[in-house]
Symmetry: C2
Amino acid sequence: MRVGNLPGIRRLPIYLDILRKLSESGLETVSAHILAEEAGLLVSVVRKDIEMTGATGKTGVGFCIDALVSNIETFLGWDNPYYAFLAGVGNLGSALLGYEGFRNHGLHIVAAFDVNPEAIGRVVHEVEVLHLDTLCGLAQRLHVSTGIITVPSAQAQGVADLFVTAGITRIWSFAPKILRVPSNVTIQREDLAAGLAELLVRSARRSERRPLVL
Amino acid sequence: MRVGNLPGIRRLPIYLDILRKLSESGLETVSAHILAEEAGLLVSVVRKDIEMTGATGKTGVGFCIDALVSNIETFLGWDNPYYAFLAGVGNLGSALLGYEGFRNHGLHIVAAFDVNPEAIGRVVHEVEVLHLDTLCGLAQRLHVSTGIITVPSAQAQGVADLFVTAGITRIWSFAPKILRVPSNVTIQREDLAAGLAELLVRSARRSERRPLVL
């Protein structure tokens, strides 16, 4: 599946954070150089990422911060709020329910599901926990498009199947396991080990090169 | 910083999961085609990712599973166990302390830290929670190389500074905030919103193209 510059897409939320902070501090325009410095990236990378969203700057002035925020949000589809269900209210599920970032991104988790009798009926970060059996009917009534999987690996495929049956077409899975879904469903596997892999390799490359730099 | 194929590096843990499962089911060799199918990726992508680790297959036979696992682990540095501290034992921190995946990856979280009196002294997934004030001395005694930040954004820079003072050179931060560290420290920011951005853009691309396909 070709969707353009995936690493760039993953960086866009970083720019949004920086732009919001610059805007709060009273700035109205920003250069690609400042953005690059704040994000710890190369200017050429920042320019390419921003170009992807269709935003254009002016020579000597830079980008209008409000316009750039709105370009990035539209590109990511974060200007349209959408509803999500979360299945699995363990530690990770609870962490996602309380994650500071999502509210800025149009993501509204409207209900959480579990099968543990101790979890059902609780309210976690203002979201009610319901029994997994009630998921299908509710998804259709509430026009829920997105499902988040935070159950243990062994239950993840079952929950994915349930999401698909409920008509959910976007699945975001945190289970360290590959899940099968029909071709009309987009699944994003969030592997916490991926970040660890990246950190270790980047750090090793740096140590290897250090003697050459000194 | 150029470290080669970062998206490929992030995919390596997926191959490891698949290879371990195939090995458990009694297989000794695997083709790039099977790996690609299991991972839901293009064969050309899988070949390129594996090539990066230095592993070589045989025509008509494929890759020896044990050798490929060992190549990937060595490439990622996961064959050498290393020690980490985790700061911030809220929901996300607790989830990471219990994450099934890390034990396979050489990562040993040897202590967790917090400032909340209710958290200190608790044992979370077999890891003791200590007061943040004791971090510096312990890092040096235990040869801890890696620090994981799961505190709220507002405290994240303070914890990063503390890690740096303690001699930690690899920081894995889950705070939705850009942190400043000296140039000899590698920092990996794990932005949960990045995965959400990728999911939405991939799903939107697919919907746009659907009428052409039908």
